[in-house]
Amino acid sequence: MYLSQKKIDERLMELKEEIPMKMYNDLNRELSKVKITEEALENILKDVLRRYRYAKVEPGEAVGILAAQSMGEPSTQMTMRTFHYAGVAELNVTLGLPRIIEIVDARKQPSTPSMTIYLEEDYRNNPEMAKKVASTIGNLYVSDLLESDELDYLGSKVILYLDEYELDKNEVEVDEIVSKVKSGIKGIDVESDGKSVVLSLTKGKNTSRKELKKILTKAKIIYIRGVKGVTRVVMRKEGDEHVIYTEGSNLKDLLKIDGVDITRTKTNDILEVHRVLGIEAARNAIINEIQDTLNEQGLIVDIRHLMLISDIMTVDGDVKAIGRHGVSGEKASVLARAAFEITVDHLLDAGVKGEYDELEGIVENVIVGRPVKLGTGMVEVVMRRELEESKEAI
């Protein structure tokens, strides 16, 4: 008698609370492939559960130290250099140990901020459309569209000759340039004949050469469009979809652009992820960034360790660095802080504030010379009930 799918589902539902999601999904998937009897199902579940119970962490396990060591030990084998991103030769991305340190330090700005932009369905397979998105992201300045420029000292004018090829390529209208220049520089009139843009001063004609030059340089750096902060855009075909990589990161503005798949697009600036998408996203960003960096170096570290590192950095709802300015600096125990770094200041402060050290942590207990409350040291009293009762009886 084979069980019906419904029966199997019911039986699995009972276990859903007890077992991890992945295991539940695996069971669902694998069981849907085969026909089984009730006895076989029970046997399967028994085996699966036995394995799971065996694999559970034991109370008292020093998972923190385990995680720290698991990440620290392989980091000695990492390279120091900034390498080209695997595959994308066009972009420089910090990798290896410096990148890991950067993540763990929760730096305000990564040394090479960059975004990986995935596109929505209509765009991702169409190179034309993808290119369009890429060009709206890439920064375009007036100087990018010029063939040459000229200073007319007599007429107190600055003349910008436009490069039609560039205009075409970037799909920029002359009017757009005119209006951008107008709003960008005060006190000038802007005219255009379609091939050039003429900037003339409104107030009098007694302007100096210096001033004209200043206007020219100002005009050149007026930015026409693009996402601020992005300095370089590279498009690449990955599998059958087009992906855009950028140098420079600005997630907030990027997500407003049409065609960008906001569910998959990512940046390597973790604090920006926190600002734009929130703390849970930042937590995942830390895990992913560390894992990608480690994998790139061919090192395997189980994700559970990275989760814990990421979790301790983000528990307070705010991305904290690993080190004296973050997690370690905010410990409850004076002795733990003093034993780590800036010893004297912590002791002096503790004096004024009248801090009380509960001696719960690891270093504190090592300092006062008693067993550490981890693993087998966590057990405080073991008492057998019967024994206690029998004593009373006597």
Binding site: A55, D311, G323, V352
Partner: protein, 886 residues
């Protein structure tokens, strides 16, 4: 010493009030003299007997106990004028700026102060840090120009490092400052972060200086009989001297100027007494010119009290010596030299059952092995057997309940450690085996977790002293329990070097053994199993294949198949029919197909070993490793395995082809440069032309190197077949024993491009790397391409470039170790308090839940299969297979 039956519950920090200092000090120090002419401490001096004693034979003047018993007692110096405590100078400044000069209140309206008070109260309640709140208060309170309480005018206060305050250009003396701080009322103090139980603002200014007991600053007697005082004593002498002079001058009514100068000097000495590294203060120096180590320096940094004496402690019962390999001992064992075994002891309680044995051990004494060094009476007194005169008398007295500190003996559990201890497998428990000679011996399989080799490495050994600890170490820390790494859930202990190449040669299809060879091999490897039936070859002679013999060490019933390291990653895998014998098939514990190599039982990647630990037991894994290594080492020793320079020989034909490829590459580089000069080079997106050129050249050259490598490998393989002799270097590379094909390429064909900072070499002279080239030459040779092989030898120019690349590598390693070391210290420090609680949550010491389930599924990585808890598919298939598929 008796141990007090007290337990530390917690430690409260606080400031010492002047009254407190006076009350708990045992005397007032009045003279700067330390000893009189006869060498006796002067009464009222810094070495007064009432402060405790450090010289043997003397008794403490306060508690009348001897050296070692008396913890020492504090004294005090009454300062003639108050002095600022440097450590609090900044805090004093903040407080001064926030309070009114006339009424002493915080310059904020009452309701603001109340608000801050409330905030602090709630923050305290939920255990949050109050620092930021107090910072905010200081920031807000420093701005008002008028006091909202008394309407008094406020002048700007300036702070000059290290301890001078100026109000409106006028100097505030520490006495003035103290007076102001005294005026601050209790509620305001609390709002500014002071815990009134232990700290008042004015206590940050010293009027009485506590003098630490002599035990905290012991003087040492040099061989010449001269006394050398501790740095703290020197500093205290300075303070007392100046203090006395200041006092005399004040009494004598000296001019204000002189008094102020002396006061300043007193401030300097007290400042450097606390911290001799304050910015802007010249450090106080010893007569020899060495800066003194005062209080802050004693605590601070890596060599300070905290990190080097409190967080890390020196221990007894430890030994250290050079390590060397011994493939004949188990992975669980460690070979210990007898000298060390005689020195390290283990306490053993005498019981009625072992009393005779214990007595024998006592008789052997400290000089014979196995003997004992001490006997401990039930009251804890130890009797050294080296000094016992009447042994019989002692033996009479030994009763059950006594302890014998006996020498280490075979089977004792010890901890074995190699620094740097980067992960928990850096300290493992071994069973000792006493061996001759003077090095620690270890099985080669435990080299990877310790990251040890035998080029002079030393390791530490700790003898465990208690039964509890011994049991714990044995169950949790024994080598066989650590085979699976908690980092990724795979084996970290496994065969290396000759184990791998040996196994590879041993399990190759054409490895055959005669019956007697097989018997000898198997027996000498300690395998006690009956051999299977021999095979018969084309000449009708019986033989054993390597695979058959290898199967003897595989546990029964094991089924496994995987791709070996030598797999060539063909487009279509033929699996069992692999013509390179790279697809391993093990059925019911018999190796049927495939060779054993790194993927079988190598550290970090051994699939077979992985299966044995996970599906069988750690005992089986230990037995497997012990016997497999012995078998394989025996086999390879009998066969012989060596590599020499002729392993890198290539036939002329190969050399010509390599030459050809390099010529072509050079030509292509030149072509690229010409294209660049003629502006014909196509941009890579987002790169300048120069960058594009560099990238293209690098690409061409690295492709060329790879091609030469492929050719070299091809010919090496051909030669092997032609001469019917294996190329040892190639075997090591492909089986994963040592080296890689890249190493081989560099030795035989072409070393390739040398790089500094990931770029071709560009530094040197203006526009060129060496004067041998023309300015602006960016061809292959001019920028560090080494076309020679290591065997053919490098040209001087190539050698120079190679050296540049090599130096970068060395610098890189140096920087990396220090950087990653510091990162790991920070990581460990941040995470060390996290543990799994009984409710399976991960929490820190505050009880804050960091994770509800460790790693979201509550699993322990070292009990998972490369991160997966269970292979559901496998289990389902096991039970459902017979029933058919849907």
């Amino acid at each position: 010493m008796r141990i007090l039956p007290k337990k530390i519950d917690g430690i409260k920090f606080g400031l010492m009030s002047p009254e407190y200092i006076r009350k708990f000090s045992v005397l007032k120090i009045i003279t700067a003299e330390t000893y009189d002419e006869d060498g006796y401490p002067i009464e009222g001096g810094l070495m007064d007997k009432r402060l405790g004693v450090v010289d043997p034979g003397l008794r403490c003047g306060t508690c009348n106990s001897r050296v070692g018993e008396c913890p020492g007692h504090f004294g005090r110096i009454e300062l003639a004028r108050p002095v600022i405590h440097v450590g609090y100078a900044k805090r004093i400044y903040k407080v001064l700026k926030s309070v009114c000069r006339s009424c002493g209140r915080i310059k904020l309206p009452d309701e603001r102060i109340g608000r801050y008070r409330q905030e602090i109260k709630t923050a305290r309640k939920i255990g949050k840090n109050i620092d930021s709140i107090i910072e905010d208060l200081f920031k807000e309170a420093k701005t008002p120009k008028k006091c909202p309480h008394c309407g008094g005018e406020i002048f700007e206060i300036k702070f000059e490092k290290p301890a001078t305050y100026l109000e409106d250009g006028q100097r505030l003396s520490p006495a003035d400052v103290r007076e102001r701080l005294e005026r601050i009322n209790d509620t305001d103090s609390v709002v500014m972060g002071f815990d009134l139980d232990v700290a008042r603002p004015e206590w940050m200014i010293l009027t009485v200086l506590p003098v630490p007991p002599v035990t905290a600053r012991p003087s040492i007697t040099l061989e010449s009989g001269e006394r050398s005082e501790d740095d703290l004593t020197h500093k205290l002498v300075d303070i007392i001297r100046i203090n006395q002079r200041l006092e005399e001058n004040i009494e004598a009514g000296a001019p204000q100027l002189i008094i102020e100068d002396l006061w300043e000097l007193l401030q300097y000495h007290v400042t450097t007494y606390f911290n001799n590294e304050v910015a802007g203060v010249p450090p106080a120096r010893h007569r020899s010119g060495r800066p003194l180590k005062t209080l802050a320096q004693r605590l601070k940094g890596k060599e300070g009290r905290f990190r080097s004496n409190l967080s890390g402690k020196r221990v007894n019962f430890s030994a250290r010596t050079v390590i060397s390999p011994d493939p004949s001992i188990s992975i669980n064992e460690v070979g210990v030299p007898e000298v060390i075994a005689r020195e390290l002891t283990v306490p053993e309680v005498v019981t009625p059952l072992n009393i005779n044995h214990m007595k024998e051990i006592i008789i052997e004494g400290p000089y014979n092995y196995p003997g004992s060094n001490y006997v401990e009476r039930p009251d804890g007194n130890r009797i050294s057997l080296a000094r016992v005169k009447n042994l019989d008398e002692l033996l009479e007295k030994v009763k059950p309940g006594w302890k014998v500190h006996r020498h280490l003996m075979n089977g004792d559990v010890v901890l074995f450690n190699r620094q740097p201890s980067l992960h928990r497998m850096s300290i493992m428990a071994h069973e000792i085996r006493v061996l001759p000679y003077k090095t620690f011996r270890l099985n080669l399989c435990v080299c990877p977790p310790y990251n040890a080799d035998f080029d002079g490495d030393e390791m530490n050994l700790h003898a465990i002293q208690g039964q509890e600890a011994r049991a714990e170490a044995r169950v949790l820390m024994r080598v066989q329990e650590q085979i699976l790494s908690p980092r990724f859930g795979g084996p970290i202990i496994g065969g290396i070097h000759d184990h791998i190449s040996g196994a590879y040669l041993f399990t190759m299809n054409d490895t055959k053994f005669t019956k007697s060879q097989a018997f000898q091999l198997v027996y000498s490897s300690g395998i006690r199993k009956s051999l299977p039936d021999p095979l018969i070859d084309e000449n009708e002679t019986e033989y054993y294949s390597g695979k058959q013999l290898f199967s003897l060490v595989i546990p029964e019933g094991l089924n496994l198949s995987y791709k070996a390291k030598i797999c060539r990653k063909c487009d279509k895998c033929l699996e069992e029919d692999c013509k390179y014998d790279a697809y391993v098939v093990i059925r019911n514990g018999k190796l049927l197909k495939g060779v054993m190599d790194e993927k079988s039982f190598g550290a970090f990647s051994g699939e077979l070993l992985d299966r044995i630990v996970k599906d069988y037991s750690t005992d089986d894994a230990r037995i497997f490793l012990d016997s497999v290594t012995k078998l394989v080492i025996n086999a390879i020793s009998r066969r012989g395995f060596s590599t020499g320079i002729d392993d890198e020989d290539l036939p002329e034909e190969a050399k010509e082809r390599i030459e050809e490829i390099l010529r072509n590459a050079y030509k292509n580089v030149r072509k690229l440069i010409r294209a660049f000069n003629d502006n014909l080079l196509e941009h890579l997106p987002g790169r300048s032309l120069e960058e594009t050129l560099e990238m293209r050249i690098m690409q061409v050259l690295s492709e060329a190197r790879d091609k030469t490598g492929a050719i070299a490998n091809e010919y090496l393989e051909k030669e092997e077949k032609k001469r019917r002799r294996e190329n040892s270097a190639r075997i090591m590379a492909i089986s994963g024993a040592r080296g890689s094909l890249l190493n081989l390429t560099q030795m035989t064909a072409c070393v390739g491009q040398q790089a500094v900072r990931g770029e071709r070499i560009k530094r040197g002279y203006a526009g060129r790397t060496l004067p041998h080239f023309k300015v602006g030459d960016i061809g292959a040779e001019a920028k560090g391409f080494v076309k020679s092989s290591y065997k053919s030898g490098l040209s001087p120019i190539e050698f120079f470039f190679h050296n540049m690349g090599g130096r970068e590598g060395l610098v890189d390693t140096g920087v990396r170790t220090s950087q990653s070391g510091y990162m790991q210290r920070r990581l460990v420090n941040a995470l060390q308090d996290l543990k799994v609680e009984y409710d399976n949550t991960v929490r820190d010491t505050r009880g804050v839940i960091v994770e509800f389930k460790h790693g979201e599924d509550g699993a322990d990585t070292s009990r998972t299969d490369w991160g997966n808890i269970v292979d559901v598919g496998k289990i389902v298939r096991r039970y459902a297979d017979q029933r058919g598929k849907k």
